[in-house]
Symmetry: C2
Subunit: 239 residues, 2 copies
């Protein structure tokens, strides 16, 4: 039995009941159906976190990969550039500028011998979902589209944001002071990546829950795209 | 007004009321005092997330850095190896094996002309805190000690785990299947890093809230150290 949450807590709410998504489905409609079935109303300021997989499926970003060679060829085709290879592992830059394994092509949580590619423009996907959810619910929302990336120096994977709409991807603390009155050394927090990681705690890879709602976070409406998170090549010391 | 959280939600609870921590203080005692003042009881399965800064201060990991040159010299002394330099920025490997800016030496949220170093053994720090909190509360807990790291290819910083006690740092999904029955490609989730990032959403850099409680997560008691997250140099393609 979990103890209750005191006031001031932030809540991560898994959204069950989203079945298989097919090309042509509307993700916002799918989410609204699951919300209704679960008896969950969207609230003002909720952040709706969506794993890209259902977005990609809805957008038809699927390909047949009967053989491992097909899968590898698809990943090569999706890569704008390859920065490292080791055995079958390819670390690539995607069309969006993200750096990840196999250019984001993934075979998990796909039926049949198919692989899912990243959405063509995940920020635009997030925007479409947000507009439709806001229209249906009448509340102000943000939407974050996520994928699971590795890190060069740390084992294990974490979820990060590959698309965002409604909020700035980075919380800029420049000019603010810490609790001692000192101007902060740390100035830019990748808040949408922290949101993506948090949401994965209730979604998980094995559970088939592709949507979570983050409730209670204080955030300011803002523009910006997840591609703003890409470190410009001129600042990148490790590519 | 935030909408209520339905059953099944995970909660992130900020712990206010932790003042300045000084060398010799006992972090668990400080946390228990703040919990009592806030009227929060620890519950079975809670994960207590602690920014390393108060741990480092309690352990006396502070140094005077009146000048920028002193700060840079301290960071050099803390680095086991330097892997990149650009201007004043140094990307270093710490004694623990973590790769981060300035070997984890930081001046924010410290009073006076001082800097804070990482704890000598953050896993041991986490263990001491957990044992004392469990003894006082009578419930089973995990403790995660965090710091704020940059990422080579993504702008902005996120919190990661540098110490853990009570749970395995990585959730190993090898052999498990996804919602379609396919064995997962993604096998290792850095769950303590996702917990650290999630907790930062209620702690923040500017708010002076150095402790958060994650409530409602399903996790299995386990051993393991945050240093297990360090990718072995032989597997590292980017150092």
């Amino acid at each position: 039995m979990t103890a209750p949450a005191p006031p001031g807590a932030l809540h991560l709410i898994p959204l069950p009941g989203i079945g298989e998504v097919a090309p042509g489905d509307d993700v916002a409609t799918v989410i609204l159906g699951a919300l209704a079935a679960a008896g969950i109303d969207l609230g003002d300021g909720d952040v709706v976190v969506v794993t890209h997989k259902i977005v990609s499926k809805a957008e038809g970003r699927l390909a047949d990969v009967a053989e491992d060679a097909d899968y590898r060829a698809l990943a090569e085709a999706e890569a704008a550039a390859v920065i490292r290879r080791r055995g079958d592992l390819m670390i690539a830059i995607t069309r969006h500028g993200f750096i990840c394994a196999n250019a984001g092509v993934d075979r998990s949580n796909v039926t049949g011998d198919r692989a899912v590619m990243l959405p063509i423009d995940p920020d635009a996907s997030a925007h479409r979902i947000r507009v439709r959810l806001e229209r249906a619910s009448g509340v102000r929302l943000a939407v974050v589209v996520t994928d699971t990336f590795g890190r060069p120096w740390r084992r294990g994977l974490t979820d990060v944001a590959i698309g965002v709409s409604g909020m700035a991807p980075i919380r800029d603390l420049r000019g603010t002071t810490d609790a001692t009155g000192r101007v902060l050394d740390v100035t830019e927090v990748a808040i949408v990546d922290e949101i993506a990681a948090a949401a994965d705690l209730v979604m998980g890879k094995a559970t088939g829950v592709p949507v979570a709602i983050l409730r209670g976070l204080r955030w300011s409406p803002g523009d910006g795209r997840a591609t703003d998170l890409v470190r410009p090549p001129a600042e990148d010391m490790f590519r």
